[in-house]
Amino acid sequence: MQMTLAIYVLIGILVALWFCLHRINRLPGMEVKPTWGFRLIILPATVLLWPAVIFQLNKRP
């Protein structure tokens, strides 16, 4: 059980790093680069909800 959770969180961390450091700059409304504090604060939710993040990104053009 703990192993399953660890795998989920590990994937979440990888997705979160990619999203918060790189992909977020290309989102609409991010013409002015977000602050590092902002990137840090959205990190936990990205780790927790990474399937929803990927789903939302796929929906966007």
């Binding site: 059980m1 902002f38 604060i41 927790l48």
Partner: protein, 632 residues
Amino acid sequence: MSTQFVAVQWNPFKKKYDLILWLGNLIFLSTFTITNLILFPHHNINTILIRGLGLLSVLLLHLILIIGPLSRLDSRFLPILYNRRHLGVSMFLLAASHGLLSLLWFHGGGNTDLLSSLFLSNTHYFSLQFFPFQTLGFAALLILAMMAATSHDFWLGFLSPLWWKAMHMLVYLAYALVMLHIVTGILQFEDDPLLICLLYAGMIMLCTLHIFAAWKERKPIAKQKDWIPVANLDEFIENRAKTVCVNQRRVAVFLYDGKLSAVDDQCKHQMGPLSEGKIVDGCITCPWHGYQYRPEDGRSPAPFTEKVATYRLALDHGKVYIDPNPLPEGTPIEPLQTGQASSVKKDQPFFIGWQNRTNKIQLAFLKKVIVTFSGFLLLMAVTTSLKQQKISHFQIDYGTVRKVEGWLSAKPVPMLTVLTGKDGLGNPVFKSILLVDALKHGANETVNKALHGASSAPVSIMGYVGTTATPCGNGHPEASAGCLTTISGEHWSPIMEIENGVLSINPIPAPPIKPMESIGEAKKQITLTGEIIDPKCYFGAMNPGSGKPHLSCAVRCIDGGIMPVIKFQANGIEQFALLLSETGTPVNNQVLPFIGLPVKVTGKLSAYNNWHILYISSLETNPNKSWTSSAF
């Protein structure tokens, strides 16, 4: 409202809000901890923190959930609503600390991982009374974690307002789970009527306020096609709105500068009620977080992009009418000229969080609310402390490593038999201290290694014992095994944790007197009713060390090799008996499903120094749920 995403959009009001909130939290936790330490010096600090953090989280959760309907019923509460997000995140951090401490304390250190222990230690999923209540708390914590993590406007836009709002509405599910967590958990142990009444009072207050607020917002169900009346023109207040329900949508009709405009009532930010807002600097301003829209086209001023639907209005004989068909969001529409200067009526103060000014009337009201709520928190901290049960006589003193000399034996269970004095006839009195390893592990292997195949040996052991300042025989469960006074006059619980495994057991020259090794002859068959406990926790490693809150931990301890003991009442005195099979082998695996439940155990009773030993022939749950034994 800035164009660059930042971590927190701080403003002076938010800083004051957070300062007061965390000061309040610290004062509550300090009061609760100090009161507990004074009233119950043998309660473990972890237990006190777990309880304090849990209680504070529940109180804040109630505040978070009532502040919405309260603000709808009385706008003076709006400043508290303004920064509810920080209130929610703070509550989550407190609840997470409660959860983490509980997880490590009750499920850590055993022979399985934390999550498996959480879900599989207590498997009474089909029993309301013995339901594994910690799983309910865990589920609630997951929801709260999801909400706290997405408490940023970025997620509102990224996940879409509909999904975001739906996710955050799960707070009501989390609340229900928390209530069940309490009812099936701590209230199965702490059964003081006042605690139960307080919990139900909170639930009733919450439901009542939501019903009142919903009643205020009720909407007509019938589909409307024709123009419908809003209000007489003279009923409007300058810069404020009248609300009308059209086709199940609330519409806010604002009067400003002799003009009327109508927009959809729901703010795009967090669906706040625009009709309860005000025209500030020419824009409709949401009362919740100060988001703004132009009344003539329902659009937020540049560079913002939020927009709401607009509606057509008409004036006939001093009465204002509205077309029930909404125009697409952000559609410009010429405001309705009223042709007369608007009447200025007495207006209530309006709060905008990001403006660095608070109305004096609002400030006075806020102060009253803060003082009242702080007083309530302190009262709760003291009351709940006072109403707790005394949950332990002993606490294992982990601050002092003690060297104890005696006769080590592995049978019937790992124990050290020590000389505690002489009886009235001058005969030596021996008492046996049960030996356990660190965390949730038994000491069978350690003791067998130290004995090298011998049945017993004189040794000195370095370890930790449970101590108490109160003499044995003065309210302690001393009758059979529960308390022993050493030759040096200390009062100990009959359990010892070996400090460093086999390395802390050292042979010594044999003491002058050797205790009798044989176990007393088993008497006739006897039935005992009581609860199976793990003696390490019960005698000071953990408190509470019995009952529902401790059930999973006891399962882990006994599964880890600590000898099971039945706690029972005989002649009004709490007594204890070690449980073994009829052949004298451990019964740890057999008793696992019965731990923490009222049980009926039948077997032959024997004695070994201060301990009873029950060689069990049958074990079942006790249908009468009685905790006393009539047979003994």
